[in-house]
Subunit: 444 residues, 2 copies
């Protein structure tokens, strides 16, 4: 069987598979985290512009945007997928360098609302989407990430799987939906550069691509089922021709949705080990920001390639600047949404501290990437003392997880500016009870 | 200036640029050819399935599908882009291994109808789309075509340019539309394999991607303007890092739309030199199909990689089978739409002749690809005679062009089964007068 066929079979079988309470609980953690990201990103550029550009596809259909506006299924997937990847607070599957929630839940919600499914079906579809896409992403490997944005590429599989599940496609139709979405997969690393607003659109287009592929497969469109492992397929076109033989071996044994990283800071995940290390050193040694002479941050090379910007001038750029977010953390104590307000972007105190931060590639950290995200942080104070620590993982990684309370607090912090306190609290309760919901009416 | 900025400037300036009657005439030749392809492909799988899958986006908006059904702008671009690349009769820009018409005209028509533009604006937008995208495709080169389908990838630029022109975007907005569409570009060669229906969808998604990017850029979405030449941009991710320095040098001096290949057979363009060579030999020497012992076809290697299928079982596969189409030509005299009817696919006479056809790579032909598409055809008859000819180019290539009358005859042949004789003739007249049309009402 080809990879697409195995994934199609797994997804079709998942309708009748038992799912443990533990897996459902983890799926709800991911859902709560995603919904916070969705609400936080919804008012931010580029989402309002995207919504205007799709006006012809709105105010109709049964899918809904975050504040309740109606949308066609595909437009809702595109807008929600974009919004939930904008604020840089969405979840990560570390081994695949991939944010599964944004494309997967966005597709599941758009199709789920269009079909009026219940909460359990929505959760199971999303779990299936996480499982298929994380394994494809893991197999595509680090070579893929050099040129490609996994949330745009691999995200199509999360979206296609979730959509196919909710549409009730059989194993062969689902395999075709997944194979078709493979040839829609896109998203260049170069789109992260300059002051581009394109990055979150990768997630949006992935959600839309997966939904589109599933809708087409439902009508009988077939695709090349050997698209992953073929001579001119995804593996060779977009990576170094990885070995697919054992790519899906743990598909039935392990649920990757139980091993997500939930972000504790509102910026690129590659900056977290430096932030966590710097904050820990500051707390342990009582270092005031103004007493810092120099900071040396040594971490894995993709972190520097993606988040090594030493002079960010816009909020999107600042979210990808280790110097900016580390300086912000040391001066303000945290890196949340307020960190990227316009007055903060030009604050002289932050800029002064940034100029004293040096970035290096640490070969030891590099060799552990992507399975472990570590950084060595050295702070040298004005009195000549040198404080060093190895931050072995990130707060929020599965080996140092956020608690349910911490996750819910994060949701509330992100939701309140958009929905207000009362609606945010009610929505939080509804999300944590999603497996018993008769429909998705709470989610809009 | 980055490539995207140069293209943006060119496109914005094109509003006030003079265009010669000769270029307009060539644009109408391309339009007539595209419309025939659109009508021929509209009833064929996968387009009717695609239309059903997008039902939520139809029967509204001002864009139109071929038989007049209303559609949102993006849905029309997707459906028309798919339909016009389905029957394998659409135009080719040889140097870029690329079919510009399907993504470019489909995007121009969808946006043009939505905005109610006149015929001259429609033609100029399409010319601009041909010009920008052919140059990007030529630069991406043969390495790109190994894994990628240029009509899916490069086609996004034709669509984005045409849409940006019609939306009246300025140079910077147009640059952003083009740059944004670059990170939406997709379409794997592997999707041509097995019995996949995905290939024409690449053109559809390209048309949709370009329109989407232009609509977003109009609302202010900006992208990475260095997306072509950047370290992790399109050139490196999807080819061997081509040199962009002189990619656009002839942008103002030359109109590539005057150098299109128009297909004379209803199948993959890589099969044409073998068909033309075999037919010429047959005519010159009066060879009856039943007297053929063996045929040896030596041609450039991508032709064999893409169209070397020796045992096609479906119409899409048969269009990419040199043995099938050459055997069909020798037995039936031509390779038109009827060649792929189900009884022809399994006809014993065709299968018997196919089994006596041998394919080889010819290093001389290979070295001339993609600028020249040649084949050496040898027919050995049962009486032991060996007839050999070099087919140096294809009938329909710019150096051996179809006349306007031949092009119009092809249009009529493709249109009549869908529209009937009277409407086809009226449409043909309207298309040849497009530069004077006050609106696009003739086109639906």
């Amino acid at each position: 069987m080809f990879v697409s066929e195995k994934l199609g079979q797994y997804t079709a079988d998942f309708h009748t598979a038992a799912v443990s309470d533990n897996v459902i609980h983890h799926a709800k953690r991911a859902l709560v985290d995603w919904y916070g990201a969705l609400l936080a990103g919804y008012p931010m550029a580029p989402t309002p512009m995207v919504e205007k550009s799709l006006a012809l596809e709105l105010d109709q259909g049964r899918a809904r945007l975050p504040l309740g506006r109606a949308a066609s299924t595909r437009a809702a997937a595109l807008i929600n997928g974009t919004a939930s990847h904008t604020a840089e607070v969405d979840d990560i599957y570390r081994e695949a360098i991939y944010h599964p929630g944004a494309p997967t839940f966005s597709a599941a919600m758009a199709v789920g609302q269009a079909l009026n499914v219940n909460g359990m079906a929505f959760l199971k579809a999303s779990i299936a989407g996480y499982e298929t896409s994380t394994r494809i992403g893991r197999t595509m490997g680090r070579t893929h990430y050099k040129h490609w944005h996994n949330t745009g590429t691999v995200g199509t599989f999360g979206a296609a799987t979730a959509a196919a599940y909710l549409l009730g496609l059989n194993a062969v139709q689902t395999a075709n939906a997944i194979a078709l979405s493979a040839t829609f997969a896109a998203g260049l690393q170069q789109a992260f550069k300059l002051d581009s607003l394109a990055k979150p659109l990768h997630s949006g287009r992935a959600a839309e691509a997966g939904v589109t592929a599933a809708l087409m497969a439902q009508q009988g469109v077939i695709s090349s089922l050997d698209v992953f492992e073929g001579e001119v397929g995804l593996g060779r076109a977009m990576s170094n021709g990885p070995d697919w033989t054992h790519a899906l071996d743990d598909l039935h044994a392990q649920f990757n949705i139980t091993s997500m990283t939930f972000k504790n800071h509102a910026c690129c995940g590659h900056t977290f080990a430096p932030i966590d290390g710097a904050l820990t050193l500051q707390q342990q040694h009582g270092i005031a920001a103004e007493n810092i002479d120099r900071i040396i941050i040594a971490t894995y090379s993709p972190a520097i390639a993606v988040a090594g910007n030493t002079n960010p001038t816009t909020a999107p750029e600042a979210r990808f600047s280790i110097p900016f977010v580390v300086a912000t953390a040391l001066i303000h104590g945290s890196v949340r949404l307020a960190a990227f307000d316009s007055e903060r972007l030009t604050a002289p105190a932050i800029r002064a501290l940034m100029s004293r931060i040096e970035l290096q590639v640490d070969p030891a950290a590099d060799s552990k990437f992507p399975g472990q995200r570590s950084a060595q942080v050295t702070i040298i104070t004005r009195d000549g003392k040198e404080h060093l620590m190895l931050q072995p993982t990130r707060k929020g990684d599965p080996d140092m997880p956020l608690t349910d309370v911490e996750l819910n607090d994060k949701f509330i912090e992100l939701a309140v500016p958009v929905l207000g306190g009362e609606r945010s609290a009610a929505l939080s309760e509804a999300l944590w009870r999603m497996e018993g919901a008769g429909d998705l009416s709470a989610m809009c």
